[in-house]
């Protein structure tokens, strides 16, 4: 058994008096897909934001490739280079073209020459069927196209792990598929991903492990078929029942 790419050890996070993450212990193996599910406010997004050091944790360790990054606030920029993140609301930079959005970080952070970055960006756009959008501004694109470009923007930094925070929640239903197709493709390429999602069907299809969070705690963790077919915990059963009957 090889060491996990990311290991959470006794992670606690609070906003003031309010505990949002309690004693999170979780291993993320390399090349695996982990789906975080649970009701709004259960701590899925917070766990992802803490992993990318956008939020600080109060207690515990987040170990990336053998090194605790949770206390590395002084070195946070270097960690974020290695950990990609995609947000629910896409967050493309509206004053930049698609190509500028994708090449900004490789140029400014990795200090690589523009023509090299642009070439790689075009290759990525080509692969995901967006080659003709390189010089468009984000407000000219559909939500699905914007989110696919946000994923490409994160990929351009060649991260070791990709954090996906409810990336289809803001999309019209007919655009969900085109975004999820990219995730399937990335899984086939061996990308390690942690994904907060409400798409139960997709979680069952793609996940290597499903983690159910409730009130900031991991209540249940299992491989997807076992998780969805034979949930152990009453709270898990209730939650699954509610989301399944809601369609």
């Amino acid at each position: 058994m090889t060491a996990p790419l990311i290991a959470y050890r006794g992670v606690y996070k609070a906003y003031g008096q309010h505990l949002v993450l309690r004693n999170i212990n979780l291993d993320i193996p390399e090349h695996s897909v982990t789906c975080l599910i649970g009701a709004s406010g259960c701590g899925k997004s917070t766990l992802l934001r803490c992993t990318n050091l956008l939020e600080e944790i109060q207690h515990g360790e987040i170990i990336l490739s053998g090194r605790d990054i949770a206390q590395a606030q002084d070195d946070a920029d270097a960690i974020r280079k290695r950990v990609g993140m995609v947000f629910q609301s896409y967050n493309l930079f509206p004053h930049m073209t698609v190509l500028q959005n994708i090449t900004l970080a490789p140029r400014r952070v990795l200090r690589r020459p523009m023509n090299e970055c642009a070439e790689e960006a075009r290759v990525l756009l080509q692969r995901f069927g967006l080659a003709d959008k390189a010089n468009e501004y984000p407000d000219r694109l559909s939500g699905g196209q914007q989110q696919r470009i946000a994923i490409i923007r994160a990929l351009a930094m060649q991260p070791e792990v990709l954090l996906l925070d409810e990336i289809t929640s803001a999309l019209d239903p007919e655009m969900v598929g085109e975004v999820l197709d990219i995730i399937v493709e990335l899984k086939d390429l061996g990308m390690t991903m942690i994904m907060a999602t409400h798409q139960m069907g997709f979680a069952r299809q793609i996940a290597d492990q499903v983690v159910f969070l409730d009130g900031g705690e991991i209540l249940e963790r299992n491989e997807p078929n076992a998780f969805f077919d034979t949930p152990q915990h009453d709270r898990t059963k209730q939650f699954l029942h509610r989301v399944m009957s809601a369609g």
């Binding site: 956008l54 920029d77 004053h95 900004l104 930094m157």
Partner: protein
């Protein structure tokens, strides 16, 4: 069509009526002589135009410096770095102070006070001190405009930039600042229009700009038509700029709408 017709008729009735009333008033002949005299207009015009060139020079020199200083003050005020707190404190104090004092008073204090110090290496020119006073005052207002723009950028933009590995300064210069400045271009243009008129205040400390030239003419000839000439010159620049600002505002509102529905 009907509404256009009604608009034309009501405009003619209203302004025609006002013109008729005014021209029937007892003092009209005297007022017409004093304010709307064609020969006086022609006689005053060259000097006033000459003076107006100084107004144009003053605001063209002041505006770039105001923009740079305003942006610098806004950034100083917004920084949350503990080590740089003195800069933040300075910016807050500066903005409070210079927004609180009427521009005219700053012009008078600098224009009469600084040369009075008799420090040899300080310029004594009233134009220099007048422009300096306008810069000091407008920079404080402009800083607050920039600050509003920068604060209007959604925090998720910064989070997205940081998540890609950009450090705090890079996220600010490449992502937050350009969006913040774009958001306040129309109010900055409004400030520019106001600035052009403020240059007239410098006349109080002596420089022969348009208002001052008009004043000299009127006191020598007991006729105020020269002020009308100065007003026309200001309007010739401010009205086109105002229309341009309106157009920009409309365009940005339209673009935002497009962005929302796309």
């Amino acid at each position: 069509m009907r509404s256009i017709f009604i608009a034309i008729v009501s405009t003619i009735v209203l302004f025609g009526g006002m013109a008729w009333l005014i021209s029937r008033s007892e003092g009209w002949d005297a007022v017409q002589q004093a304010f709307f005299s064609a020969p006086d207009f022609r006689a005053a015009w060259p000097k006033v135009v000459d003076g107006f060139k100084l107004n144009v020079r003053m605001f063209l020199i002041a505006e770039p410096i105001i923009l740079a200083a305003g942006l610098l003050l806004a950034v100083m005020r917004l920084n949350r770095n503990a080590v740089l707190f003195p800069l933040r404190a300075f910016a807050i104090a500066y903005i409070d102070l210079f927004r609180g004092i009427p521009t005219l008073l700053i012009i008078l204090m600098l224009g009469f006070g600084m040369p009075g110090l008799r420090i040899s290496w300080l310029p004594a020119s009233p134009v220099f001190w007048g422009v300096t006073a306008i810069i000091l005052s407008s920079a404080a207002y402009t800083a607050e405009t920039f600050r509003a723009g920068i604060e209007s950028v959604h925090p998720s933009q910064r989070a997205a930039a940081r998540s890609l590995g950009l450090n705090s300064a890079q996220a600010f210069t490449h992502v937050v600042l350009p969006q913040g400045v774009r958001a306040v271009i129309p109010p900055l243009l409004s400030g520019f229009i106001a600035l052009q008129k403020e240059t007239a205040l410098v006349s109080t400390i002596g420089p022969l700009e348009a208002t001052r030239q008009a004043g000299i003419y009127s006191s020598l000839n007991f006729n105020y038509t020269s002020y009308l000439a100065a007003a026309l010159l200001f309007i010739a620049i401010t009205i086109p700029l105002t229309r341009f600002t309106d157009w920009l505002l409309q365009r940005s509102a339209r673009l935002r709408e497009l962005g929302m529905t796309a």
